[in-house]
């Protein structure tokens, strides 16, 4: 039996080391989203503000109710005063006023609903959806060959223009042509660095913080119950840990006389 288990473990270890790396890798690598923002109420609230002011014009979050923002510490009054603009009620879901058909004409693609965007954009072996969004919002650059005049490293040929450009300012990307090691005669278009063209309303550090807040909000909105889930989870595991001890001793008490 032991031999069998050992050989199984060895086999599994071998399997893991011998397998080809995940084929999902590729493209621009994602930065790590600062997870600690998920427990920072001020960050989440600021993220909600940015979301409503900048994203909700074109994108909806049709499964998300305004009054769910209670969970990140906002009151009905605060929501009404700061986040509702037209005829919405606090119990409504976040809908955009942009007509999807028009949007398709404007951008060439319908802006996707953002309710679960942070969950859907994760990739096994590459990172979480938050990592992706955190990278996306910091890799826009000017590209005159695109219809909107904008391009993105994390999402090449993105249809969306840089909605936060006033905050970040305009940047251009510097690429170099590198010889491809695997294909002689071919060159690889490799990203080198960004260059600021016009200054934004925020410094680079301020902008990074703001994007972090926005992504924290998007991540939270993907599953508003996540904070509750983690909190309850700790209690459940403590209870079950205790139950294991009791059932273990109960079992031992019954079996002690079995010979």
């Amino acid at each position: 039996m032991k031999k069998l288990l050992i050989s199984l473990f060895v086999a599994c270890g071998f399997a893991l080391s011998a397998l080809p790396a995940s084929a999902n890798e590729g493209g621009y690598p994602w930065d790590k989203f600062p997870e600690e923002k998920m427990t920072d109420m001020a960050a989440l609230q600021n993220g909600a503000r940015i979301f409503v002011n900048y994203c909700l014009n074109c994108h909806s979050a049709q499964y998300m109710r305004y009054n769910r923002l209670h969970d990140i510490g906002l009151t009905d009054d605060q929501i009404k005063k700061n986040l509702l603009f037209a005829t919405e009620k606090v119990g409504d879901t976040m809908k955009t006023t942009l007509d999807p058909k028009q949007a398709k004409d404007f951008f060439g693609a319908t802006p996707p609903d953002l309710s679960v965007i942070a969950r859907s954009r994760a990739e096994i072996g590459k990172g979480s959806g938050a990592d992706y969004l955190f990278t996306l919002w910091r890799t826009f650059y000017r590209d005159d060959s695109k219809p909107t005049g904008w391009n993105n490293l994390a999402f090449p040929d993105i249809a969306m223009p840089h909605a936060l450009w006033q905050l970040q300012g305009e940047r251009r990307a510097v690429f170099t042509e590198v010889k491809d090691e695997h294909h002689p005669g071919k060159t690889e278009h490799r990203f080198e660095r960004f260059e600021q063209v016009t200054p934004g309303a925020m410094s680079e550090i301020e902008y990074k913080e703001a994007v972090g807040d926005l992504v924290a909000y998007l991540q939270w909105m993907g599953e508003p119950a996540q904070g509750t889930r983690l909190r309850i989870g700790v209690g459940v595991l403590l209870f079950l840990g205790l139950l294991i001890v009791f059932t273990w001793r109960l079992n031992a008490a019954y079996w002690k006389n079995v010979t």
Binding site: C12, Q62, R119, G233, Y254, W255
Partner: protein
């Protein structure tokens, strides 16, 4: 009919109630004795024997959470995705119920795979337990159908395209295929009609079959009694006075407390996933499934959920080249059987004819069809295990040491197939999964031969047991 018993008017209320009940349902006590308090199970069960009762626990979790999900879910292509998000956000504790159900689906396959592996290494399928094994295999098959149909219901991109791919497989069956696929879908593509029928099957038809099979599995088990890690028949050594097996122990209370203990351990692990990683790293809830189904947009990479991936790998491994490998294998097997098998001349001719027909059929139909056959065969072959295994002992403990490496190789390739099935196709991966497919099929098809080879160890009269 049992005799109607009167009870003294001075008896306690509890006794009176028990007597009233016994007079009207006398077999209830017998049922309890036969399956619980006087069902003798071998006392040397080890770690591997927890997974049967855990499967039952997960079944209950799935049914109960399923009942609550159906209260809020809408089986409508226009509303299904939305209603799942509604459950996750607006239904009180909806997120918990939904995660229990989605994590439960994966947990079900984890415990069932481990339960089957236990049966495999200890020879639990051997005479007289063939029926127990066959009912179990049927449960596995039905469970796959249940999981597959349930996966369509959230109506995400993977739900939709996964269903599209799998239902399309049926259209590869010669002659009836296209009509069969149409019958399953109820439409020419996966659509609202498909969602509605899958919902019906998932919540009522298949669970009914599943429950019936589980009952048959347990009754069949209790008729013949459990096997154990030594593969020794405990009924052959009985107490002279009581007639009870010396190495047996009443299921209740001994194994109920035993299973209770491990159920707590299981629930701890289950809850750790449920509360802290409900997406299972993208394997339990695939990330793409958070995008609503779009019939006009095929995702670049369609991967089934992890528990189907070993079989999906085998399907993908069956290419045109692989069909030639099958032809070569059949030719070699036929030549060996004719030259070395020691058959009479009539049988030799029959083997040659069968081989020629098999080769002809392999080339007559598309490789895609044979992929479906391999995938289905990989599951169906399990049913025949009791007759494929010819080893003189049941348990791996008393088999030649090198048998353990055969099992390890089998498990290794099963895991590799599972991994590769979750990955986009690649040339190297495909080659490895072809080897894996041959190992998987060879393990079973050659079992009548290899399971007899080697020096077997003496099997003890009684089970090996040391007091806890």
């Amino acid at each position: 009919m049992a005799e109607f018993k009167d009870i003294s008017p001075n008896a306690s209320a509890t006794e009176k109630l028990a007597n009233w009940f016994n007079n009207r349902y006398p077999s209830a006590g017998g049922f309890y004795k036969a399956h619980m308090s006087e069902y003798y199970a071998p006392k040397n069960f080890n770690f591997w024997y927890f997974f049967g009762s855990l499967a039952l626990l997960v079944l209950v979790i799935q049914i109960v959470t399923g009942i609550f999900l159906v209260m809020h879910y809408k089986p409508d292509a226009a509303k299904a995705f939305e209603s799942v998000e509604y459950i996750m956000r607006d239904v009180p504790w909806g997120w918990l119920v939904r995660y229990m159900h989605s994590t439960g689906a994966s947990a079900f396959f984890v415990v069932v795979y481990l339960h089957m592996y236990r049966g495999l290494i200890y020879g639990s399928y051997r005479k007289p337990r063939e029926l127990v094994w066959i009912f179990g295999c049927a449960i596995f098959l039905v469970l796959m159908a249940e999981a597959f149909m349930g996966y369509l219901l959230p109506w995400g991109q993977m739900s939709y395209w996964g269903a599209q791919v799998i239902v399309n497989l049926f259209s590869a069956i010669p002659f009836i295929g296209p009509d069969l696929a149409l019958l399953i879908r109820g439409d020419y593509v996966v659509s609202d009609a498909t969602l509605n029928r899958f919902f019906s099957f998932h919540v009522i038809a298949v669970p009914l079959v599943l429950l019936g099979l589980v009952a048959a599995h347990i009754i069949a088990l209790h008729e013949v009694g459990s096997n154990n890690p030594d593969g020794v028949e405990i009924k052959s050594t009985k107490n002279d006075k009581t007639g009870m097996p010396l190495d047996g122990i009443p299921f209740h209370p001994y194994y109920t407390v035993h299973d209770l203990y491990f159920a707590a351990v299981f629930l701890f692990i289950f809850s750790a996933v449920l509360f802290f990683a409900p997406e299972g790293g993208g394997y339990f809830l695939e990330y793409n499934n958070f995008i609503e189904a779009n019939p006009l947009k095929t995702p670049p990479h369609i991967a089934p959920v992890w528990y189907f991936t070993p079989f999906y790998s085998m399907l993908r491994a069956t290419t045109d080249v692989m069909v030639y490998v099958f032809i070569a294998v059949i030719a070699i097997a036929a030549v060996l059987a004719i030259l070395r098998g020691g058959f009479r001349s009539g049988a030799k001719i029959a083997i040659a004819v069968a081989a020629v027909v098999a080769v002809f059929l392999l080339k007559a139909f598309d490789a895609k069809f044979w992929g479906v056959v391999v995938m289905g065969g990989a599951v169906l072959i399990l049913f025949f295990l009791p007759w494929l295994d010819r080893s003189p002992v049941r348990s791996i403990r008393y088999r030649p040491d090198w048998h353990k490496y055969v099992y390890a190789l089998f498990v290794f390739f099963f895991l590799v197939l599972g991994y590769l099935g979750s990955q986009p196709p690649s040339a190297g991966g495909n080659y490895v999964s072809q080897v894996g497919t041959l190992v998987y099929l060879g393990f079973f098809l050659l079992m009548p031969w290899w399971s007899r080879l080697g020096t077997f160890k003496p099997v003890p009269e009684r089970v090996t047991f040391s007091a806890h």
